[in-house]
Amino acid sequence: MLLRASSDAVGAEVDLSAAVEEAADGGVEDGAVLTAFAEAVVRATDELDAARVRALKTLGPAKFVEAAATIGIFNGLVRVADSTGIPSDAMMLERTADVRGKLGFDSWSGAKRRGWR
């Protein structure tokens, strides 16, 4: 999982549960602002305007654009994976074996499609 690998690379300890918990920072700088922004876009919540303002104010314009771009493209990437049923990569499965069950990944619809359960 690239969140863990990229955090390891800078000597930071990341809490992977931030991927599945609401507005959690996971030990990543401005993580709670980022995850709240992502949630508001994906879920199209009433919080979107406030989350966007908070993200822009906290991150500044350049980082805000990167956050918006990442949220945008991953809404496409998940659909690439889910519409084609591609198998997960072996290395990814190996690196996440210790956390998939704990964080509930194995119960997701995407896991069912790939025969993990």
């Binding site: 990229s6 700088e29 876009v41 654009v65 945008g72 659909r79 049923g85 591609i86 198998p87």
Partner: protein, 225 residues
């Protein structure tokens, strides 16, 4: 011109807007298996359905179809666009049996390109981009060599492949790969050499910040990939 700089509330990198403009224009062009009007119709259906994503499918306002697409393509554009957590092998196999594998993959490529651009606009706080004008012309109907079974629902490139599976998921329609992954490079990964690095200096956000966003969006869509 689409994605005009003046529409954004803050400056956006030129390579990002260039990628968006080129991929957006691609949607309106004749594809490999579908015409320009058919491709724009897919984008319109996916957008209209996704806008209503918080409503259950049976409660959504779909109006009159008025589309050049066959029924299964209409269903696929809506489902991939708005309900990715409900996609499964049985449904996909039925859709592929009716549409053909390459036509299904091209449809998916149009929908994911539309969704990514729309979600970016929502994050930026601007209106969705006007859909491109469909261009006249016939699809090329070219099926690439080197496709095989990698355990996916559709054939994918099996020759000379060492990268992540998601990057070859649409390889049955190379034009669809170019259209969508041009945006992936500009909006996420950068060049291949950048992507391999765990510490990024080609983006303003640190890589753990980008990957946290990626992980959260994936989790919200119940997609482990």
């Amino acid at each position: 011109m689409s994605f005009e700089d003046a529409r954004f509330p803050v400056p956006v990198r030129e390579d990002l807007t260039t990628a968006l403009r080129r991929s957006w224009a691609d949607i309106g062009r004749p594809g490999t298996w579908w015409t320009g009007p058919e491709r724009v119709a897919m984008a319109a259906l996916a957008r209209a359905e996704r806008i209503q994503r918080n409503e259950p499918p049976w409660n959504r306002n779909r109006g009159e179809p008025g589309t050049p697409l066959p029924g299964k393509a209409v269903e696929a554009a809506r489902k991939i666009g708005a309900d990715p957590t409900h996609l499964d092998r049985d449904w996909a196999e039925a859709a592929i049996a009716e549409l053909g594998d390459a036509r299904y993959v091209e449809l998916a490529s149009v929908v994911v390109t539309t969704v990514a651009a729309d979600a970016f606009c929502e994050a930026m706080g601007i209106k969705h981009e006007t859909l491109p004008e469909p261009e006249a012309g016939e699809p090329t109907r070219e099926r690439p060599d080197g496709m095989g079974d990698i355990g996916a629902w559709v054939p994918a490139q099996v020759v000379d492949w060492s990268r992540a599976n998601v990057a070859r998921a649409l390889s049955l329609v190379p034009e669809g790969v170019r259209t969508f992954f041009r945006m992936v490079v500009a909006m996420y990964s950068g060049a291949a050499t950048d992507f391999e690095k765990m510490v990024w200096d080609h983006r303003p956000l640190a890589r753990p910040q980008v990957e946290l966003l990626a992980a959260r969006v994936s989790a919200l869509n119940q997609c482990f990939y």
